[in-house]
């Protein structure tokens, strides 16, 4: 199978420190990979590097190919093409990811129109409205007519994250990157968003790079995990295997801690 995202020997540095070192990672079409790391591990930076969205103060070396296109060193104008089609990102904080001054419907329309224009069949008028509402239905937003006219601050955090997911889906990406997409949400809302992501990724046969510090959350969603610690991948493999028999001490510590809290909850329902 052809690889969708291939990161080879990626090193990220500022003037003073190395943030990520010699990182290798591949994702095949339709594959789901979890990137586990604690704060400062470099997991979010790795995702930003993959989409070419690194801040200018960080220097990237190595190779990142996304849908066959080299990302490192490629000018932004060319990467914009890639970002709209090959990859889309859902961030942790849906409130800052949405434009506070734009109605929800308009925000979803933008990536929809961009994708349609690129495919050579521009969307407008009734067809666009229908596409927006369809997409809102896909992410199970209640009362789509009302929410389409609402501003981000007028809807709940969970609904905002559904909107962000709808915007990502509008690009019809081959790879969805989700960077701690449920960390800012309540437990019950988190469960709903995770279920939604799981079914959407499955239906559309998208590849998923799911970034999180939360082991049980990752476990429920991906096939394979990579454990990142201080910019270095210490372990990678199938999720069941890594969680059952961690090889690296650090992974073992994380898994043991997660099991301790899990065990306190008693038998699984």
């Amino acid at each position: 199978m052809k690889t969708l995202l291939a990161i080879t020997g990626l090193t990220l540095k500022t003037a003073e420190t190395t943030l990520v070192e010699s990182l290798n990672l591949t994702i095949s079409p339709g594959e789901r990979l979890g990137l586990i790391g604690e704060s400062g591990s470099g997991k979010s930076l790795t995702a930003m590097a993959a989409t070419g969205l690194l801040p200018p103060s960080i220097k990237a070396t190595g190779s990142i190919t996304l849908a066959g296109q080299q990302v490192i060193g490629t000018p932004d104008s060319q990467l914009n093409n890639l970002r709209g089609t090959a990859v889309a990102v859902v961030f942790q904080e849906p409130l800052t990811a949405l434009d506070p001054l734009m109605r929800i419907g308009r925000q979803i329309a933008e990536p929809l129109q961009r994708r349609a224009a690129r495919d050579g069949s521009p969307l407008s008028g009734a067809a666009l409205d229908k596409a927006i509402l369809d997409l809102m239905a896909d992410v199970a937003l209640p009362d789509p007519q009302r929410i389409a006219r609402a501003y981000p601050h007028e809807i709940s955090g969970g609904q905002r994250q559904r909107v962000a997911i709808a915007m990502a889906l509008a690009c019809r990406p081959d790879l969805l990157i989700a960077d701690e997409p449920t960390t800012a949400l309540d437990v019950t809302t988190q469960a709903e968003i995770l279920r939604l992501l799981d079914s959407l990724v499955r239906q559309r046969n998208m590849a998923l790079l799911f970034i999180s510090h939360d082991l049980p959350v990752v476990a429920g969603l991906v096939d394979r995990v990579a454990v990142l610690r201080r910019g270095v991948i210490v372990e990678t493999g199938p999720v069941a295997e890594i969680f059952a028999r961690p090889q690296h001490d650090y992974t073992a510590t994380l898994v043991a801690a997660a099991h301790a809290f899990d065990a306190a909850l008693g038998a699984q329902p």
Binding site: T14, A15, T17, L19, S39, S44, L45, P55, I58, E180
Partner: protein
Amino acid sequence: MTTLDQITPKRRGYGSLTLWAGLALVGLHIAIGILTLVWTPYDPTGMSGGRLEAPSWLHWAGTDRLGRDFLTQIMIGSRIALIVGTGAVAIGVLIGVTLGILAAFASKLLDDALAATLDILIAFPTLLIAMLVVAASDTANLGSAIVAIGIALSAIVARLTRILAKRVLLMDYITAARTSGSSWPAIVFGHVLPNIWPTLSVNFALQFGLAVIAEASLSYLGLGAPPPNASWGRLLQEAQGTVYTAPIGAIAPGIALVSLVIGINLLADGLRDSIDPTRRAR
């Protein structure tokens, strides 16, 4: 989570260069100002040459229309400018920080009232305040100019203090101080002031520059210190009539004023740069 300020590289060489250039310029003015207390090239009040002489080896900046050495007056101007800047900023800080802290701690109603008053005060031209102070004190002298500029600055300082203090009051360590039983004065002096001081003090340098310029404009309009201990603004005003025949009279005080203000601003920038990199790692 890695945040952007964590990975933004520190500006090293440039920051310290700015700081040193600022220190050098301001230091030069301070040295000259102190020097004039004990020595000036000529007697500032006496005639030492012909009227409106061009610059020469005897009179580096020429003479004024009364035949007094112009360089002597510009040097004294440094002293006046520093006194005005320090005095006005001191008054501005004293009144401004007090009002700003009161507003930050006040009930919503009182805070709104204070904030509105400050906005009105800031909209008032410094000149108008100066004329009111002069009218109240019956004389136009250096003291009235300093008080007027100090009052004008206090509104700016108060507004900044209020915003900074409000931000600090939201921090958990303030709540922790309250639940530790600390009194409000202990919280103000122990937590609020130490945490807003770095940002405030950088602004004091900028306000110092504003004060020096404000005094020059007041003097230009005859509302500042009278001769012979004239400020640069007064020298500029006096040079007005002879600007075509003796342009040095306008150029020299202008250069002096600009060099001090640039020096102060470089100093402020340098201070900010040297404070920023030590910002707490997060």
